[in-house]
Symmetry: C2
Subunit: 432 residues, 2 copies
């Protein structure tokens, strides 16, 4: 049995490694079109910022590691240009063919560059190690002074902080009215005011039609970073007859199967299921890619495993603040047909006598079922842990009254006697 | 309607405040035998350590605050010496009587001093503000050099750190084989080795029969701290005909009712239910006391609310390390009739390129149901958040396969792509 995996980053390598654990005899080949595999894409902003010293630090494993330790053949510079499923073979650029019995498509995503002027010098999009290297060189050598970032998703917000660290004036344009693709006016307002304190200007509901290196939508700049979201790399799959969903990404069963027998997909090229709505969603994130990859790999190796989907959890560092979301915002919940009720509180994340900093917690419940269906946490400390509690509660369809009684850890160096989550849940119960 | 609350710290004041919110007309009196109310007992070690500058910082509210803001009469120095339930009245020291329609007993707990020599100078137990003041004076004026701490529960471990901060040599005696009352050899070993690095000696399975100020069980010392656990203050309740459970603390319904109609109890004088075993347990902690108090207060004011119980979550700071537990350990689970399976992992709490420190996670599942029933988390960062995820998962009876797929937040400044919790869950699944 031969397993071919197209793509050698998060999802692809998770699939290959898991397939190997499930079946020691499988012949496994990973085909990566780039020069490196197994690199942490999420670390790129921190390389640009300087906290990560060199790009090599982001590379977790080499192809040699996979060959030696896992008996997995990993080829770099190996671009698949066609999948002929009827013959169970892929064709590489150059004409070489590789046969497969099982195929995992993990072709990832690319930054949305559908804007006039995207190819000009001084305009960058961050998708690979080389993009980061070029941008860092530009920052150091050209010493730009004014940057425009297009997009206020997590990457745009991270890049705004990176560029401020380098001393640039930063303006962020966002086509939607909200940050983080969240439809959450309160969250957006919080982030906007925080960015303003760091002299990052956020211009919402402003679609940028074209960029020039010297100005964008009337804002003078000598650097433009495109961070207007991700496009799934589905062209190869579509040509092979693999179906995409309404999100434009590959449609999958819970077992990560495409519509073609024996062909799986995982990661940023594919849809996943939103656990609150039960509907397909396109939320390309590294942690989801790894989980999907594991399941695809297991099933490709003959197991029967499922990936239920995501709660929609996302955390981003914004100028010293942790901003995290999970589930749906109130507005999103209404769009999805829920009858949402929201509560917002701001309470210390530790006792006052321990100089607890404020943590802002928003909870969204569905009136009909009294279940938690969304939440945000913003603060300096303890943000990841708190959003994870909410993600767990959402995943288990916890009711707000049960959330309010949760036995959360308390000791002065770590948390207050009433955690902001519990206070927010009590607040929500008053109106529920 | 008159509500009398006996005890003016966590449970008592939570009950009074909640009762007021539920019923603006109720006549509410809180009787506190001590000189202060509403003080944070859990902050005492940090006052002794010096991070909390003065005891007054631990006092959240004054009696005047409750009178003015909540219309609650709070009397200090008001010791209740008898409850005559047939007459619906309590008697104060001095003979004064106070009638009630509803009563909340929140008499708290006291340190176990059942040891010869407990009353000698140089021997301290920490239960009130005055105890802390006396011990701090002793530390500053007498400059003791060698301390013995009796008990390796959370208070004993906190005090060991406090005394090391003051430069004392510290030996901790524990009657049981394990720390934190947990029956967890691996956890105990971890804590013992960590304490040794800070030159705190831990002597387990050593019951101390008597203390002298100069030596304890052969260890020379000029200071002894008793931290051998808590005894519920139930004498007053028992004399009034209130039943205690097998734990020795007041037995309660889910509504915090005692066996006497109209008499509720809450906090450290009472039992609660362990959510994993469904059985009564005595786990006196501030956060539980507050939750129980709220429910007791609501019901005393005519609502119908319940407190389901606790997962058994506890966190303690031990010389720079966060040590947290929830649910049952493997050994405890076996004693309780489960068929437990454990997994232990140590994995970085952030990406390696972000200098992630190791986090040790232990998960305990029940083979029969595949549910998570216990966990520990030890590390420098992110311990509270992670134990809270496990506590939430235990409370919702989550299965390990669902835990392994949780959509936990990921971004390099906050967490690794594979959180140690997910790695531990995957590890557990291999054997489950």
């Amino acid at each position: 049995m031969r397993l071919v995996v197209i793509g050698g980053v998060a999802a692809g390598l998770s699939a290959a490694a898991r397939a190997r654990r499930c079946d020691p005899c499988l012949e496994i080949t990973v085909l990566e079109k780039g020069a490196a595999v197994a690199w942490g894409a999420c670390g790129l902003p921190y390389y640009l910022e300087g906290r990560v010293g060199c790009l090599e630090d982001l590379v977790v494993h080499t192809p040699e590691y996979f060959r030696r330790e896992r008996n997995i053949a990993v080829r770099t510079g190996a671009e698949v240009v066609a999948v002929e499923h009827s013959r169970r073979q892929v064709t590489l650029a150059g004409g070489e063919r590789a046969p497969y019995d099982r195929l995992v498509v993990a072709t990832g995503a690319r930054p949305d560059r559908s804007i006039d002027g995207a190819g000009e010098p001084g305009v960058f999009a961050l998708s690979g190690l080389e993009d980061a290297r070029r941008l860092r060189s530009f920052l150091i050598e050209k010493r730009p002074r004014r940057a425009v970032v297009i997009g206020a998703g997590y990457q745009g917000l991270e890049m705004a902080e990176v560029l401020r660290t380098h001393g640039l004036a930063v303006t962020v344009f966002e086509a939607q009215r909200d940050v983080l693709g969240r439809h959450d006016a309160a969250l957006t307002d919080f982030v906007r005011r925080h960015l303003e304190r760091f002299r990052v200007e956020l211009r919402l509901a402003t679609r940028v039609e074209s960029v020039e290196p010297e100005s964008v939508a009337g804002v003078a700049c000598d650097l433009v970073v495109l961070a207007a979201g991700w496009k799934p790399n589905v062209e190869l799959a579509v040509e092979a007859g693999i179906q995409v969903g309404r999100t434009g990404a590959i449609r999958l069963s819970e077992r990560m199967e495409t519509n073609l027998a024996g062909v799986y997909a995982a990661g940023d090229c594919a849809e996943t299921t939103h656990l609150v709505t039960g509907r397909p969603v396109y939320l390309p994130l590294g942690t989801t890619a790894n989980k999907m990859g594991r399941v695809a790999g297991a099933n490709a190796a003959g197991r029967r495993e499922g990936f239920p989907g995501v709660a929609g959890t996302c955390i981003v560092g914004v100028c010293g603040l942790g901003v995290a979301v999970t589930g749906l915002s109130g507005a999103q919940a209404r769009q999805e047909g829920f009858d949402p009720l929201e509560a917002r509180v701001e309470a210390p994340g530790k006792p006052r006598y321990f100089q607890g900093q404020p943590v802002a917690v928003t909870l969204v419940a569905d009136r009909g079922t009294r279940r938690l269906i969304g939440g945000t946490v913003i603060g300096r400390d303890g943000v990841a842990g708190r959003i994870n509690v909410l993600a767990t509660a959402i995943t288990t369809q916890m009711r707000v009254e049960d959330l309010a009684q949760l036995d959360l850890a308390y000791a002065p160096p770590f948390a207050p006697v009433w955690d902001p989550i519990l206070i927010a849940a009590q607040q929500l119960l008053k109106d529920l």
